[in-house]
C-alpha cells in the first residue's frame, strides 16, 4: 500500500457517446487523491460531472480513459480480480441524495442497515446482527424502535440517517456521499452535518463529499475541488479556496452563495463567469501548498 492514500484518480475521463457524431464529455481528464481520514469535497453546478465521478469510482460504468486506484490497487480495470472486487464492494460505500429511492421499500431499517455486513460475512449470528444494528441506530441518533420500520414510515432526515448507518455498518475505508443533505430541511441538515462531522472527527472516516451547497462543503471538507464542465478548475485546501480563489469560475461561484445577512447581500456584486474550461490544452498549475489551478 502506497503511504496513506486511500483513493487515487489519475486522468479520469468518462465520455458518453449519445449519437454517432455527439459525445458528452461528462468527466474530462481529472486527477486527485484522497488520504486516510480526509474529507475531500467536490463542488460545481449541475451537469459539471460531480456525480459521474462518484459513479465511475464505484464502478457503475468503466471509465473511458484513466485509472482509479483504491488502497494501492487498480480497480478501474475490467479484469479486476475477485478478491479485489470483494474488497472494493465492502470497503467503499455510497450515500445518495434521495434516500427514498435508494432504500428498498420492502426491507425494514434493520435489514437495510445489516445488508452490507451480512453479505460480506462480517456479522454472522442473528443476535450479533440485532445488537450491531441497535448500536448503529443509536449512533446516528435513532432508537431501537426504528428497527422494524419500513422506509415509507420514516421522515426524510430519518431515512438519510438509516442510509448513513448502512454505509458505515461495515466500517468502510471510503464513503462517497453524493449530495447527502440536499433534500433535507435546514434544521435536519444541521443534524446530518453534525453526524458527518462526528464520523470524521471520532472515527477518522474518509469521505468524498459531493455537494452544490458551498457553505456545507466549506464546513466539512479539508480539501475542495471545484468542477466546471467536466474539469477540475481549482483544487486546494478549503481555506485557500475560500480566502484566495484563483480561477474566475471559483470566484463567480463563491460570489453566488447567498449569505444570510441582508445588508451584505444587498450590496454584494455578482461576478459572472462567461468563459469556458473547454480549452483542452490547459493544465493544472501548482500554486504551492497543494493549491492547483487549471490554466
Amino acid at each position: 500500500m502506497k503511504d496513506n492514500r486511500i483513493l487515487e484518480v489519475k486522468d479520469l475521463k468518462q465520455h458518453f457517446q449519445l449519437r454517432k457524431d455527439y459525445t458528452v464529455k461528462a468527466v474530462d481528464g481529472i486527477s486527485f487523491e484522497i488520504k486516510k481520514g480526509e474529507v475531500f469535497g467536490i463542488v460545481g453546478e449541475s451537469g459539471s460531472g460531480k456525480s459521474t465521478i462518484a459513479r465511475t469510482i464505484m464502478g457503475v460504468y468503466p471509465p473511458t480513459e484513466g485509472e482509479v486506484w483504491f488502497k494501492g490497487r487498480k480497480i478501474s480495470d475490467k479484469k479486476i480480480s475477485a478478491v479485489d472486487k470483494k474488497d472494493v464492494q465492502k470497503n467503499m460505500q455510497i450515500i445518495f441524495q434521495d434516500s427514498a429511492a435508494a432504500l428498498n421499500p420492502r426491507m425494514t431499517a434493520e435489514e437495510i442497515i445489516a445488508e452490507p455486513a451480512v453479505v460480506n460475512h462480517v456479522w454472522k449470528t442473528k443476535k450479533q446482527i440485532h445488537e450491531e444494528v441497535q448500536q448503529l441506530l443509536s449512533y446516528v441518533g435513532l432508537d431501537a424502535s426504528y428497527c422494524d420500520k419500513y422506509p415509507n414510515e420514516l421522515s426524510g432526515g430519518q431515512r438519510q440517517r438509516v442510509a448513513i448507518a448502512r454505509s458505515i455498518s461495515v466500517k468502510p475505508d471510503l464513503i462517497l456521499a453524493d449530495e447527502p443533505i440536499a433534500s433535507l430541511d435546514i434544521s435536519i441538515q444541521a443534524q446530518i452535518i453534525n453526524l458527518f462531522y462526528h464520523l470524521k472527527e471520532e472515527h477518522r472516516s474518509t469521505f468524498l463529499f459531493i455537494a452544490h451547497d458551498l457553505s456545507v462543503v466549506r464546513y466539512i471538507s479539508d480539501r475542495i475541488a471545484v468542477m466546471y464542465q467536466g474539469k477540475i478548475v481549482e483544487m486546494g485546501r478549503t481555506e485557500d479556496i475560500f480566502h484566495d480563489p484563483l480561477h474566475a469560475y471559483t470566484k463567480s461561484l463563491l460570489s453566488a452563495i447567498p449569505v444570510p445577512d441582508p445588508v451584505f447581500e444587498r450590496n454584494k456584486k455578482l461576478l459572472e463567469y462567461g468563459g469556458t474550461a473547454r480549452h483542452d490544452n490547459g493544465e493544472m498549475k501548482d500554486w504551492g501548498n497543494g493549491h492547483f489551478v487549471y490554466v
Binding site: S46, A190, N194, D213, S215, V216, Y219, P260, D261, E265
Partner: protein
C-alpha cells in the same frame, strides 16, 4: 403605499380520515404594494398552504376555517372559481418550484404566454405574440424573437424558470407568489433569477410573496421576513430586524443551524426533535418542546404577538414583561462584522 394583501386571523384546515389537520392557524399578515415579503420555515409549517389559500388552489378536502383574505381591500374569502379566474393572472399570480412540471412540454413557450394573454384580454393574435416576445425579453431571454417558438426542453433549468416567470407576469399582476422558485436551480443561476426578481420589483412595482427555506436567499431578496412554525406566524419584521435582532427562539434556532454562520471545528447547533403533528397541535406554544428557553407558561398558553418595534413582532412569552431576561445567541453579529471587513 397601501396594503395589497391582508390576511386577518386566517385558519386553514384539511379534513383527513385521521381527523382535522390544522395547517394554518390564526395567521394575520399584510403585504404592502411594491414590497417583497419572504415566508420562511421548515417543510410542513404551512407556508405553501397559506399562499395557496389566497389563490384558492387548495385541494378539495381543505377549507378556510375562519378569518378573512382581503386583496386591495376587497374581501375574497368566499370567492368562487369564476370570480377567482378574473383575479388570477391579472392581480395575483404564481411561480412554482419546478419549472418543468409547470410548463407544457409539447407547446412552444411563446404560445404558452400567448395563451394567458388571449384567455384574459380581447387582443389580436399578433398583439398577443408581440406581448409574449416582450415578456421573454423582459425576463432576460436573449433572442426572444426566435426562441419564442421553442418547446421547453430546448431550455436549461434557469431559462425555463424565466419562461415560467414570463407567463406569470404576462398579465401584469400586482402580487406574485413565488413558491421556492430557485430551489431546483444552481447557485449561479439562482443568483441571476433573484437579481431578475429584484429588477422586476423595481421596474414594475411588483409585490412578491417569496416562499423559501434558504435564509441566504431570503436575506438577498426580502424587504420583510415572516417566520412560520407549525402553522403559526412566530416572527415578522423587516429583514434587518429578523436577521440582526431575532427575538423568537425558533428564529435563533434556524439561524444557528446554518453552516455558513458556524465556525469550523464547532458542532452546528441544531434544533432538537421534530416539528409537531398538526393533527392535534399542542395546547401552548408549539415550539416549546424543542425550545431550550421554554418557560412553564409555554406549555399552557399560546403566546400572543408582542410588538418589539412598530414593524417587528414575535410570538414568544420571552418578550413578556414578567419573563426572565436571557441572553440570545450572539453568533450572528460576529459574522456580520467579519463580512464587513
Amino acid at each position: 403605499m397601501g396594503a395589497l394583501l391582508e390576511l386577518e386571523h386566517l385558519s386553514v384546515s384539511f379534513d383527513t380520515p385521521k381527523g382535522e389537520v390544522q395547517a394554518v392557524r390564526d395567521v394575520s399578515l399584510t403585504v404592502q404594494e411594491g414590497e417583497i415579503l419572504a415566508l420562511v420555515g421548515e417543510s410542513g409549517c404551512g407556508k405553501t398552504v397559506m399562499s395557496q389559500s389566497v389563490l384558492k388552489l387548495l385541494p378539495g378536502n381543505s377549507r378556510i376555517k375562519s378569518g378573512k383574505i382581503l386583496v386591495d381591500g376587497t374581501d375574497i374569502t368566499d370567492y368562487k372559481e369564476k370570480d377567482m379566474r378574473n383575479l388570477r393572472g391579472t392581480t395575483l399570480s404564481m411561480v412554482f418550484q419546478d419549472p418543468m412540471t409547470t410548463l407544457n412540454p409539447t407547446m412552444p413557450v411563446g404560445k404558452q404566454i400567448m395563451e394567458a394573454v388571449l384567455k384574459h384580454e380581447r387582443v389580436s393574435r399578433e398583439e398577443a405574440k408581440r406581448r409574449a416576445v416582450e415578456m421573454l425579453d423582459l425576463v432576460g431571454i436573449e433572442d426572444a424573437e426566435h426562441r419564442y417558438m421553442l418547446q421547453p426542453h430546448y431550455f436549461s433549468g434557469g431559462m425555463r424558470q424565466r419562461c415560467v416567470l414570463a407567463i406569470a407576469l404576462a398579465l401584469k399582476p400586482r402580487l406574485l407568489f413565488a413558491d421556492e422558485p430557485t430551489t431546483a436551480l444552481d447557485v449561479t443561476v439562482q443568483a441571476k433569477i433573484l437579481d431578475l426578481l429584484l429588477k422586476l420589483k423595481n421596474k414594475l412595482g411588483l409585490s412578491i410573496v417569496f416562499i423559501s427555506h434558504d435564509l441566504g436567499v431570503v436575506a438577498k431578496i426580502a424587504d420583510r421576513v415572516a417566520v412560520m412554525y407549525a402553522g403559526k406566524l412566530v416572527e415578522v419584521g423587516k429583514a434587518e430586524e429578523v436577521f440582526y435582532d431575532p427575538r423568537h427562539p425558533y428564529t435563533w434556532g434556524l439561524l444557528s443551524a446554518l453552516p455558513s454562520l458556524a465556525k469550523k471545528g464547532e458542532g452546528l447547533k441544531c434544533i432538537p426533535g421534530m416539528p409537531p403533528m398538526l393533527l392535534d397541535p399542542p395546547k401552548g406554544d408549539a415550539f416549546a418542546v424543542r425550545n431550550e428557553f421554554a418557560l412553564a407558561i409555554d406549555y399552557e398558553e399560546m403566546p400572543p404577538m408582542f410588538q418589539v418595534s412598530p414593524t417587528h413582532s414575535a410570538a414568544t412569552w420571552l418578550l413578556d414583561k414578567r419573563a426572565p431576561k436571557i441572553q440570545p445567541p450572539q453568533i450572528f453579529r460576529e459574522e456580520r462584522a467579519a463580512n464587513e471587513r
